[in-house]
């Protein structure tokens, strides 16, 4: 066998083997997801959340919402947070050195005054310029913090320092939450008896084209634009399949930064959010898990499949590219910070399964796919490609489509947010188009993320949002 043939075979069969293992993982994810979702739905049918809403024994929670230049919608967004159904709640808005008039607007709208507040710097942060509370007792739950700009992670750390409750929920201030979202998110912390629940996440859905009134979601619609619609499918796949499956294995590494609840004591013991990464949400969960593993304390990261939080998805390739670039950098940074866990039995599922999966199939998949595509193009030009290779590619593409359709089926059988048959068929159409239109762009953005990281380019990447205001009805 010549060396060229050897390289050719190594390349072809290597990618084939990788694809087969990845497909097996997808089959297992599907199976675990079904089991976990069924179990959750059965349990949920016995749950009366109104009981929790009226009880004085509910755990206290603090909502942390960092805001940077959110002046356009901040008043309605804060009002929406203040109206959530939960007894023991404080809402902390952290103005992260906004250059617009967010703070002034908040002061005027909520009748705020500056208080003498000793900020216990349990986690080191950029300086706090002032803490504001309202003269109006109606807004007694509200605390507004004004601080020097330091990024999302730093703003959240300030919130963690100021929060006085046992649990905190971090959210993106422009997200729309379901009214009972906190009650549902509190449940995993109350249910567990033999493991400490250190964090809990809920499903984030795409709000583009949905009808929103007074900061509340009143009607769910499938996004009209192509990119948000394709991301709708992507989110269903990620949240209903992947995260549910990892929850079953107690191996979940990521709780979305847009909406997640955390045990404040553990977060402080771990040192809070890492300000040196753009993937602070994933990094925190991994560090908390590592902390618990190293102390041999039984713990759990919970996830619930109910749609609790609605967010605006990027609707242009430019913004989407920045987002995916950042996600890639965040993943690599997190994996690099915690590389000691790779195949380390001391970390149990975390080291033997979750970490390797993220390394080989979340971080490396776009790279392998990118070079595989380039290789295939070269083969085509050199006539080295044969039918067999083309069939393998077609097979892998079909498996991708199958996985997406399976996710749509899970959605239909469970929460069925998009009720019309036309909407479901549109999603199926998107599932067929995705591997050809959307996926190559996501792979390319991930490659750019890798390159940017090598160049030490670590900016957040401006996430200009068109705003959900277009979908909002006058309140």
């Amino acid at each position: 066998m010549s060396w060229q043939t050897f390289i050719l075979h190594f390349f072809t069969y290597g990618i084939l083997l990788y694809s087969i293992i990845l497909l097996i993982c997808y089959v297992l994810i599907g199976a675990f997801s079904i089991s976990e979702t069924r179990s959750y739905l059965h349990k949920n049918s016995f749950t009366d959340y109104r009981m929790l809403a009226s009880s004085t024994e509910t755990p206290s929670m603090s909502i942390l919402a960092p805001a940077y230049n959110e002046g356009a919608n901040i008043i309605e967004n804060v009002r929406s947070l203040l109206s959530l159904h939960y007894n023991n709640l404080e809402v902390i808005i952290i103005n992260d050195g906004s250059k617009d008039d967010s703070l002034e607007k908040l002061i005027r709208a909520y009748d705020l005054y500056k208080v003498d507040f000793f900020v216990n710097q349990q986690i080191k942060t950029k300086p706090v310029r002032g803490v504001y509370k309202s003269y109006n007792p109606v807004y007694r739950k509200l605390i507004v913090v004004d601080k020097v700009n330091g990024g999302k992670a730093d703003a959240l750390n300030v919130g963690v320092n100021i929060a006085k409750n046992d649990y905190f929920v971090c959210i993106d201030v422009d997200c729309v939450l379901e009214q009972d979202s906190l009650l549902k998110l509190a449940k995993p912390f109350l249910e567990s008896t033999n493991q400490r629940v250190i964090a809990a996440g809920g499903v984030v859905r795409i709000a583009n084209s949905c009808e929103i009134e007074g900061g509340r979601l009143v009607k769910v619609n499938l996004p009209k634009q192509f990119l948000p619609r394709i991301q709708t499918l992507e989110y269903i796949r990620a949240f209903l399949l992947s995260r549910m499956a990892w929850t079953k294995l107690n191996g979940l590494l990521l709780i979305s930064g847009a909406f997640g609840a955390f045990d404040r004591e553990i977060v402080i013991n771990c040192g809070g959010y890492n300000t040196n990464t753009v993937g602070e949400d994933m990094e925190l969960v991994v560090r908390m898990r590592r902390y618990m593993e190293e102390r041999d304390e039984p713990y759990k990261v919970a996830f619930i499949p109910d749609p609790l939080c609605w967010t605006e998805a990027p609707s242009t390739f430019k913004i989407l590219g920045r987002q995916r670039n950042r996600w890639t950098r965040g993943t690599i940074e997190t994996l690099r910070f915690h590389k000691v866990m790779l195949f380390n039995p001391r970390y149990g599922i975390l080291g033997m399964l979750s970490y390797p999966y993220w390394l080989f199939f979340e971080f490396m998949a776009p790279i392998i796919e990118f070079f595989g595509t380039i290789g295939m193009i070269i083969y085509c030009f050199t006539y080295a490609v044969n039918w067999s290779a083309i069939m393998i590619i077609v097979g892998v593409l079909c498996m991708g489509i199958l996985y997406s359709i399976f996710a749509i089926m899970m959605e239909v059988l469970t929460y069925n947010q998009y009720r019309g048959r036309k909407d479901i068929l549109r999603l199926v159409g998107v599932a067929i188009l995705e591997p050809f239109v959307f996926h190559p762009f996501v792979v390319w953005s991930a490659i750019r993320g890798n390159i940017d990281l090598l160049r030490k380019h670590n900016s957040w990447g401006e996430m200009t949002r068109t705003g959900l205001a277009t979908e909002k009805k006058a309140s």
Binding site: S388, I405, V412, I424
Partner: protein
């Protein structure tokens, strides 16, 4: 020349690939057909359910307004239409009817509620529920217990009692709730024997149920000695909510329990049930406690602290942990009328961080 064996091997690989690809495409089509059929049949069933819903509504309405003496002569059966009786063999209709009866039963009391129970038994739905108690699936067992509880089927309480320490948490929860529903505070005697932990969720549920009953002075002392920490925690909550001052020394004894969660709940409980000695009980145990419980003790000292604790609290203002300092400053101000004066005097002789804390506390007091 290409050998025959090579051709065969290529063919077989080609063949396998085709089969796999065809299999994947068939699976895609299969899922699509299944999903669309599901949606179609669901819409058909939804329409059917709307009709059934009308039938069950009518049945429930008849039962609710049924007047035994007026409408029957000898026979006390609630009139059921032939259509409804025929539909009783259909398990989907039965499920719908049971859900609607339960929903109605939850919201009404008195004779109407008794009539609903009457209808439930008359239709033999209790027999189905009893049968479901022995199902292999936990959610069917739990649902059966819930159903019998809501329908006030007191006669089955002994059977439900057997599930109060079931290995499945949902079955256990429903059975424990059933015991409270049927026996009130006496139902709490499952705490004598329960071996599995009672989750905080279940504790909230039980407390909620008990809050609808008139308070009863039941004997709780043996629960403080339980090997099950969650039983002690729940008992401490009961003692706090029902202001059981007679249990003071049992509560204080929990401050020495090996489980920090029990100690935490005991500290919390002493915020409501305390004597002049309570702060001394805290101070003597303070150094041996974990941080969370130390903070809880300081918090409770806002209520139970007295003049004799001033020195202890002032001493804590030197603590290395700022949370302890803030808590101590707050307790000093809240528990003593001269607390603010002592704090200001102390701050004049101390560092900047204490001054900031004093300003913080002053701000809180002013608000």
């Amino acid at each position: 020349m290409v050998s025959k064996a090579y051709l065969l091997s290529v063919f077989s690989i080609w063949h396998i690939q085709n089969i796999v690809l065809a299999g994947i495409i068939l699976l895609i089509l299969g899922l699509l057909v299944y999903m669309l059929s599901y949606m179609y049949f669901k819409s058909v069933y939804d329409k059917k359910f709307d009709k059934w819903s009308l039938i069950s509504d009518l049945l429930i309405r008849k039962a609710v307004f049924y007047d035994d003496e007026e409408e029957s002569e000898g026979d006390s059966a609630i009139p059921v239409t032939a259509r409804a009786e025929k539909l009783m063999d259909n398990k989907h209709f039965r499920k719908l009817l049971i859900n609607e009866i339960m929903s109605a039963k939850r919201s009404i009391t008195g004779i109407s509620a008794d009539n609903l129970k009457h209808l439930y038994v008359q239709l033999g739905l209790d027999k189905y529920a009893l049968g479901n108690l022995s199902s292999g699936r936990w959610y069917i067992r739990a649902k059966a217990i819930q159903e019998l509880t809501i329908m006030s089927m007191h006669e089955f309480v002994d059977q439900l009692c057997l599930y109060a320490d079931d290995k499945n948490d949902l079955v256990r929860m429903e059975a424990q709730s059933a015991l409270i529903q049927f026996n009130g505070f006496d139902g709490l005697h499952f705490l004598d024997t329960v071996t599995y932990p009672i989750s905080n969720w279940q504790q909230i549920k039980l407390l909620q149920q008990l809050s609808h009953l008139p308070p009863a002075n039941i004997d709780m002392t043996q629960w403080f000695k339980s090997d099950n920490s969650s039983v002690i925690i729940f008992t401490l909550k009961l003692a706090r909510i029902y202001q059981r001052f007679d249990l003071y020394y049992d509560i204080v004894s929990c401050l020495d329990h090996p489980d920090p969660l029990v100690r935490y709940e005991a500290i919390h409980c002493l915020n409501e049930i305390y004597t002049d000695e309570t702060s001394d009980d805290f101070i003597s145990r303070f150094l041996g406690e974990i941080l969370k419980n130390q903070l809880a003790m300081i918090k409770v000292m806002e209520t139970v602290g007295t003049e004799k604790d001033v020195l202890f609290l002032l001493d804590l203002l030197n603590h290395e942990n700022d949370e302890i300092k803030i808590g101590a400053a707050r307790a000093l101000v809240q528990s003593n009328k001269d607390g603010m004066v002592s704090l200001e005097k102390y701050s004049k002789e101390s560092n900047d961080s204490i001054n900031e804390i004093v300003m913080h506390i002053k701000g809180e007091v002013a608000a």
